[in-house]
Symmetry: D2
Subunit: 215 residues, 4 copies
Amino acid sequence: MKKVLVTAFEPFEGETLNPSWEAVRALDGKAIGGARIVTRQLPVVFSDVLGVLYRAMDEIHPDLILSVGQAGGRSDITVERIGINVDDARIADNAGQQPVDEPIVAGGPAGYFSTLPIKAIVAALRAAGIPASVSQTAGTFTCNRVMYGLLHRLHTEGNRVRGGFIHIPYLPEQAVQHPGAPSMARDNVIQALEIAIRVALETETDVKVAGGATH
Amino acid sequence: MKKVLVTAFEPFEGETLNPSWEAVRALDGKAIGGARIVTRQLPVVFSDVLGVLYRAMDEIHPDLILSVGQAGGRSDITVERIGINVDDARIADNAGQQPVDEPIVAGGPAGYFSTLPIKAIVAALRAAGIPASVSQTAGTFTCNRVMYGLLHRLHTEGNRVRGGFIHIPYLPEQAVQHPGAPSMARDNVIQALEIAIRVALETETDVKVAGGATH
Amino acid sequence: MKKVLVTAFEPFEGETLNPSWEAVRALDGKAIGGARIVTRQLPVVFSDVLGVLYRAMDEIHPDLILSVGQAGGRSDITVERIGINVDDARIADNAGQQPVDEPIVAGGPAGYFSTLPIKAIVAALRAAGIPASVSQTAGTFTCNRVMYGLLHRLHTEGNRVRGGFIHIPYLPEQAVQHPGAPSMARDNVIQALEIAIRVALETETDVKVAGGATH
Amino acid sequence: MKKVLVTAFEPFEGETLNPSWEAVRALDGKAIGGARIVTRQLPVVFSDVLGVLYRAMDEIHPDLILSVGQAGGRSDITVERIGINVDDARIADNAGQQPVDEPIVAGGPAGYFSTLPIKAIVAALRAAGIPASVSQTAGTFTCNRVMYGLLHRLHTEGNRVRGGFIHIPYLPEQAVQHPGAPSMARDNVIQALEIAIRVALETETDVKVAGGATH
């Protein structure tokens, strides 16, 4: 049976929960699209996060990898297009680290495009009534670090395994503390991740539908 | 047994559903806080909407009235503070009417404050993990017309019955068509309305907690 | 020669300047539309602000009164439609006062509509290339207090003198400290106020063009 | 005397002007930081834009290249960090072309980082009272195409010449047609570009100050 590694993050920036983990842990052990879901929580610590990810990959030997993170302030499920080779922390991470303009991989390429079918995922989510879009930036914090570090390793290994990153909004109970911030119910996020995984497993070549931004 | 009249609207502005009705119709016939819920759908037609509301009031003789409407673009449950004496339609209503700067009640006061405990409702919603806030404007479309028209009649009748208005976000399936727009799951909205009704029935005097805006 | 009293506010909420005063003080002594401009700065103090305003009115006997305030976060010139009879302070004022749900005038009506030609002002600003719109709420802080208190006194005196309120965005140098916040150049704000005063002096009956909000 | 090539775009998406050209053409022939400014307008046409840019570079042999484009909806001057190797057009360009998920340079790297001192530019703009920030995405339209295509050529030529991209908000007269959209006065934009050019000429090594995003 195929295995899908799905990662999420621990809470950060003063939150008591991280919606990515609240959703992802509900998938642990499930069978989706004929594959078994294995989940891992990653630390929001620049120096540690890729080590934890890589050890999970070594241990699980997944056929597909989806990393999920919180994007407080975004209103929909955003499927990331690219991870870029820079850490630039607006805030300190959970270990007090705040790298500025440091490459994630010294000498590495400026970016890696997601190898997930991002347009097919967005289309399937919308068809299911879940607001979703392509995002042109995963930021420059630990989420981007995971996306770049994941794709760098998969590239180094010949891209036989596909991987990518999805950002999700706050949960409603978080948004209570952020007046005006949008949110998405946990059940909708879980359903979205299930759809994304199924589409990623089933879609060899991505569809060509517009998902860009003028800026 | 006490009766609570809860109104919502039909779809407008090209939508195929109105989230207010999708949530409110789920409450029909329920018992909340010892009261029976009776629901009505109102037309998004300036010339008709208050007639339909007033006939429902004549027929049902409710002990409390809560009107609910869609606020596409808002991210949380917003409990309205005031209805104002003006129709000023940014778009045509469902009958093609588009009044501009017409009073709702000729010679009526400029506004009526909600007689619901708006601060207690917001506090209870937040305590339940549902994003909510006080809104200082219900707009100048049919929602505001219903709020002003409702409060005008209740005032005329001596304010023995309390009433007010709550705006709710798009449903997720609507937000799919409005890129970037926030949304709220139907279950959360239903839960929010149940809480609002219970608090309104149980709270004689509103709590004094800040809920204002600097502008 | 006619006189126009134009008021603005001192800085508040940690700002070192208030854009309303930065713009308004540039108008002092000018002749606009055949009238002389007299300016006054008002304190951001609930207990004092109306006293300062009323004394200025007693002293100057203006033929028109325009009050101007900062609306940090708004992107355009907003001409306020209504002032409402409530103080509800989200933050403490400059004297540490933070009233919650207190009437401005005990027993006063819920609101007063601006007696300025708000639609004609918005139309003239747009025609001049300045972003502008009608606002349906002036908030519940000292700006709204001034608007309500001004219109209450003018109403009490028979509405022979017209008055109203305009909110303006941050200046660019303020927005530097508020990442993502829009701003407007001081010259544009000054031009906008000059246009608003001229239109207010020249327009007997407001134009009927849509300027409402669905919520 | 050193030469700086500054490019801007023609109007697109139904606009009658492009704020980038309105600002840039004011710089033509000026001396800034000891260098002569040469300006060029670029077409908003995918198939043509890089050809026009490259011919200008062949003709002018600039020592520095700054490309400027309109970012309608952004409120501040945004200095772009990276151009990515994809065209994904949300709307058709001025020739009706709408490429979707096409590489700009087949086989090229996923991205190129700006070789301008982006942090020093943002710091200098803020110090001058002009709202500015680093942007993590230049979109996937002709602006990004110019940024990627420019940096690809400069890289191919050994990066002896530095280049990058700056996005600017709507002008106020444009924002009149986009209710709620922020804008920036032309004079402020011109001043911002002069500062950016001077800083780019004078700054060998960029400063290390946080300018990242959590997502």
